[in-house]
């Protein structure tokens, strides 16, 4: 998820915006809950604090939903994207989803898409494609370029890019966004 | 001819051995063109083993490098007596930084020279046993592990002398120091306790560096030859020099070289060289001497001989010597020169030999 926020910021930069990304920092262990932040703005960004009033939240690991306060501060005009094959009701968070404007809360089987395009259930790139489509805040071409730069020209690069595109298309189809915006 | 095949006792230029040799085989100190790297005027004690050792080591290294040498020196006696403000007795580029970092400073020097493509200027790091084996040990090991191109020389006088003779990791068992006095009734009544020691040369060999050697100020040809050999090689090299300290050991200042000779002849200090972790050369004991001969000359061991004599401790020290002799193969066979008559305990013979040397000067 650390990489995700960074990639989002690189994509936003490529789109001509200002962006800042950082994680909640800790020792480099896998398995610990990680939150990362990304600010995107038309103006230069000065703030250096964690985001306490997000416009969008992406949840990569739904097992955290009831362990950590994931939704604190989410703007009620905001966006929510959760990596899951289940619905919000099945996840027990329909209350949160219902608060948001129609279409702005989505679950998406990002791990499955990743397995399909990348061969491994690493949902991060897919989720980025999804949030790009959902919010329209970064464009798919910039995101694809950021993914390619990070993961290289081999299988990891093309696999992640494909997963991102697939998720973008899936969400775009649902919310009626142009396929390659 | 190998330096230690010269079978006469040597004490620098005033030596029968040196004068009988071809000029090319004489010590660096015997030459008028020597660098005098540690020049006169320093404030070392009368009979200081470290001053003697450093003079020989540095002039040999300067000769081997044609004067292209820079030095990193740890805090300690050598640093203090050689640079009494505002004077300096060093005639080479010399840096004193801290007590525990001489090996690391030397590492940095070597890196700078490498970055600049200067490969004819060489680096020497030096310090006492405290600065090298205790506080500087981490840096020393790091330098070995990286195989930095540094010759590191440890002048071992077996205690923290500059600060008033406190025990170091190199202090031998049974020795008195300011904080291992033979007082009380417990374990400390015999002076420094019997631990397993800290065998720096063996530790250096375990790092598999290109060159490790030990030497004393009694075999000065050997000491110079080892420095010359070390400077032929590149990478991390370690030289451990036994240097008696008259003041710290309570020994007569004229006994410095004698003590160095005895420490080798007892087997307490094996003199050898090793390359890439394998022993290549051992200076054999020609006339084996019981440790008592060595210990009695130093007041730091006087408590062992006071009534009642601590025979058990002296025996334990002897056992250390015996083990070294076995472990390093220190006894010369007949064709290696164990051909001088009589047992080492023949003090009459020893006395006569000493007189002979003085007579020849």
């Amino acid at each position: 998820m650390v990489t995700s926020a960074e990639l989002l910021s690189v994509a936003a930069f490529a789109d001509g915006l200002h962006a800042q990304a950082f994680p909640t920092f800790g020792s480099e262990r896998t398995g610990a809950p990680v939150v990362s932040f990304c600010r995107i703005d038309e103006r230069p960004i000065r703030a250096r604090e964690p985001i306490d009033a997000p416009d969008a939240i992406v949840v990569g690991d739904p097992t955290l939903l009831h362990q950590v306060d994931v939704f604190g501060g989410l703007d009620d005009q905001g966006y929510l994207l959760v990596n899951s094959t289940r619905s919000f009701a099945e996840l027990g968070i329909s209350e949160v989803a219902d608060r948001l404007p129609a279409g702005r809360a989505q679950t998406v089987p990002a791990s499955g898409l990743a397995r399909e395009h990348l061969g491994r259930p690493l949902p991060n790139a897919a989720l980025l494609g999804g949030i790009a489509a959902l919010t329209g805040r970064v464009t798919m071409p910039s995101l694809a370029k950021a993914i390619a730069e990070r993961f290289g020209s081999g299988a990891m690069g093309s696999g992640n890019a494909a997963a991102a595109q697939a998720c973008f298309d899936l969400i775009a189809g649902r919310v009626g966004v142009a396929a390659n915006a | 001819m190998k330096p230690h095949e010269i079978k006469l006792y040597q004490t620098g230029t005033f030596v029968v051995g040196n004068r009988l040799l071809d000029p090319e085989e004489r010590t660096v100190q015997a030459r008028t063109e020597r660098s005098n790297t540690l020049t006169s005027g320093h404030r070392a004690c009368q009979g200081c083993g470290e001053a003697l050792g450093a003079r020989y080591v540095l002039d040999a290294a300067m000769r081997a490098t044609e004067g292209k040498l820079i030095a990193a020196n740890a805090t300690g006696c050598l640093e203090v007596f050689s640079t009494p403000y505002p004077e300096s007795s060093w005639q080479l580029p010399w840096l004193h930084s801290l007590f525990g970092n001489a090996p690391a400073v030397a590492t940095g020097m070597a890196a700078a020279l490498r970055a600049k493509g200067i490969d004819d200027v060489r680096v020497i790091g030096q310090g006492g046993d405290g600065g090298t084996l205790d506080i500087g040990f981490g840096c020393l090991s790091g330098m070995f592990e990286r195989n930095d191109d540094v010759l590191y020389v440890c002048y071992d006088n077996e205690a923290y002398m500059n600060t008033g003779v406190q025990r170091s990791g190199a202090t031998p068992p049974g020795a008195r120091t300011a904080n291992t006095k033979p007082v009380g009734e417990g374990e400390g009544r015999d002076g420094n306790v019997f631990g397993q020691g800290k065998n720096a040369p063996l530790i250096a060999m375990a790092h598999e560096i290109p060159y490790v050697a030990t030497a004393t100020v009694a075999d000065l040809h050997d000491l110079e030859a080892k420095v010359e050999r070390a400077m032929e090689l590149r990478g991390a090299r370690y030289l451990h020099v036994f240097v008696p300290c008259p003041l710290g050991w309570g020994a007569a200042s004229h006994d410095t070289i004698r003590l160095a000779r005895l420490v080798k002849e007892t087997g307490l200090f094996p003199v050898f060289a090793a390359e890439e972790g394998e022993v290549t050369d051992v200076l054999k004991i020609r006339r084996r001497v019981p440790v008592e001969e060595y210990l009695r000359l130093q007041r730091r061991y006087a408590h062992l001989f006071a009534e009642p004599e601590s025979r058990d401790v002296i025996d334990a020290i002897q056992a250390i010597a015996d083990r070294n002799i076995r472990r390093f193969g220190l006894l010369a066979t007949d064709d290696e020169g164990a051909d001088l008559p009589g047992e080492a305990t023949d003090s009459g013979l020893m006395h006569m030999l000493a007189e002979t040397q003085h007579g020849a000067q």
Binding site: - | W94, L95, G100
Partner: protein, 418 residues
């Protein structure tokens, strides 16, 4: 070239532009990405000739830097927190010997208790070491300051540490205009040492100095560091001239011209502070901010001048002198002695606790409403209930154990009960 990159990589890139000849590296969070970045560049031949020393400790790192710098090489290292303390002896040695080493300090708290997150206790602990201390507000500035640091260090023959907030800057992805090698070369000429270990001209460096001369040597150190106050502004101006952006300098004011209340701070927190200043200005309050860019030497005259017109000064600092009070606050009071402004001293952000716009706004509201006393040290966002409970528990006597573990378990219990 403008790029969106990690702060550490921006710094590694800037350092590489300075053409260091020796880099000594010992890893400690959160500086690791900087030394890793430099290692990659050296291995790929992008930075050459440069010797990369993987040393055995921070003490080894600074010691090797001393040896290298004294041998005439432009030298670099980086550390944080515990690592800075481990090399403390060597810091004083480097400054005492007048070696122009440049070091990045990725500001991190000092333990115990161990904490890997940002605050300024590390750099503040070494404020008297004789090193010049520069503080970066952003990753751009952190990169830029390394070039300025080498120019300054080599001009004065003094070591310089560039402080950047650990994690907050080092691990943040941000927009940075990376520096071109040709531009860097034009700004920073090759190193010409004032002293060098060279067999052609032997010298003895590092001799003992006794009572008869030590005072004079230390006086000269002080005088030399003070020269930085005159040296820094032209270097910063030249940088701005060539690169087209302001960076570095001694102090920087934000909306201070007619400010009645001025917030003073160091490092990245200025960004958040400026957001709050704008908020308050919009609400009609005359508030400004001052960023201290150079903390050592202490720019007393510049601080005095920029704060003199305010009624109140609110120092927000990320460290404090245990048992005594604020550090930056104390220095600010020194600068303002004899003048009108009332000084409030606030400690915030210790051990990585976020300094939020919300808290700063509430703080300034309290200051403006006179709900806070000037004088005593205040701790922003202190959990007073936790503190009270812990004090009560410890007063019980017996094997009360360490505060840290007890508070942590209390907070964990609290979290689980939500």
């Amino acid at each position: 070239m403008r790029k969106q990159i990690e702060g550490s990589i921006a710094v590694a890139d800037a350092v590489a532009r300075c053409r260091p000849e020796v880099v000594s590296a010992y890893p400690i969070s959160p500086q690791t990405h900087i030394v890793e970045g430099l290692s990659d560049m050296i291995r790929r031949g992008e930075l050459a000739p440069c010797e990369y020393l993987m040393v055995e400790s921070e003490f080894g790192a600074m010691s090797a830097a001393i040896g290298a710098s004294a041998t005439g090489a432009r030298t670099y290292t980086a550390t944080a927190s515990q690592g800075l303390l481990f090399m403390a002896e060597a810091l004083y040695n480097a400054s005492g010997l007048g070696l122009p080493i440049v070091m990045t300090l990725a500001n991190r708290a000092i333990g115990a208790p161990i904490n890997i997150w940002n605050d300024h206790s590390d750099s503040m602990s070494q404020r008297d070491s004789g090193w010049i201390q520069l503080y970066a507000e952003s990753n751009q500035e952190a990169a830029d300051l390394h070039l300025q640091a080498y120019r300054l260090a080599e001009q004065l023959s003094l070591p310089v540490m560039v402080c950047m907030d650990g994690f907050i800057l080092t691990h943040a992805f941000d927009e940075v205009d990376t520096i071109d090698q040709a531009d860097a070369d034009a700004f920073l000429p090759p190193f010409e040492p004032r002293q060098v270990l060279d067999p052609d001209t032997p010298m003895t460096i590092g001799a003992m100095v006794g009572p008869e001369a030590f005072t004079e040597v230390k006086y000269l150190m002080h005088a030399r560091q003070m020269q930085a106050l005159d040296a820094i502004p032209p270097i910063a101006a030249d940088f701005e001239d060539r690169f087209g952006r302001p960076s570095g300098g001694l102090v920087r004011g934000y909306r201070t011209e007619d400010a009645e209340t001025i917030v003073v701070a160091l490092g990245s927190v200025l960004g958040t502070i400026e957001d709050v200043v704008d908020e308050l200005r919009d609400a009609g309050a005359r508030v400004g901010a001052v960023s201290i860019k150079c903390f050592r030497p202490w720019p007393r005259e510049e601080v005095r001048e920029i704060l003199a017109g305010a009624e109140r000064v609110v120092v927000v600092e990320k460290a404090f002198a245990v048992g005594a009070g604020g550090i930056v606050g104390q220095n600010v009071r020194l600068a303002l002695s004899g003048l009108g402004p009332v000084v409030f001293d606030i400690v915030a952000g210790l051990g990585g606790r976020p300094v939020t716009r919300r808290s700063l706004r509430a703080l300034l509201d309290d200051v403006l409403a006179e709900r806070i006393e000037p004088g005593p040290l205040h701790f922003l966002d202190l959990k007073t209930d936790v503190v009270q409970r812990e004090l009560a528990r410890a007063a019980g006597g017996g094997l009360t154990g360490p505060h840290a573990e007890s508070i942590l378990s209390e907070i964990a219990v609290g979290a689980r009960s939500h």
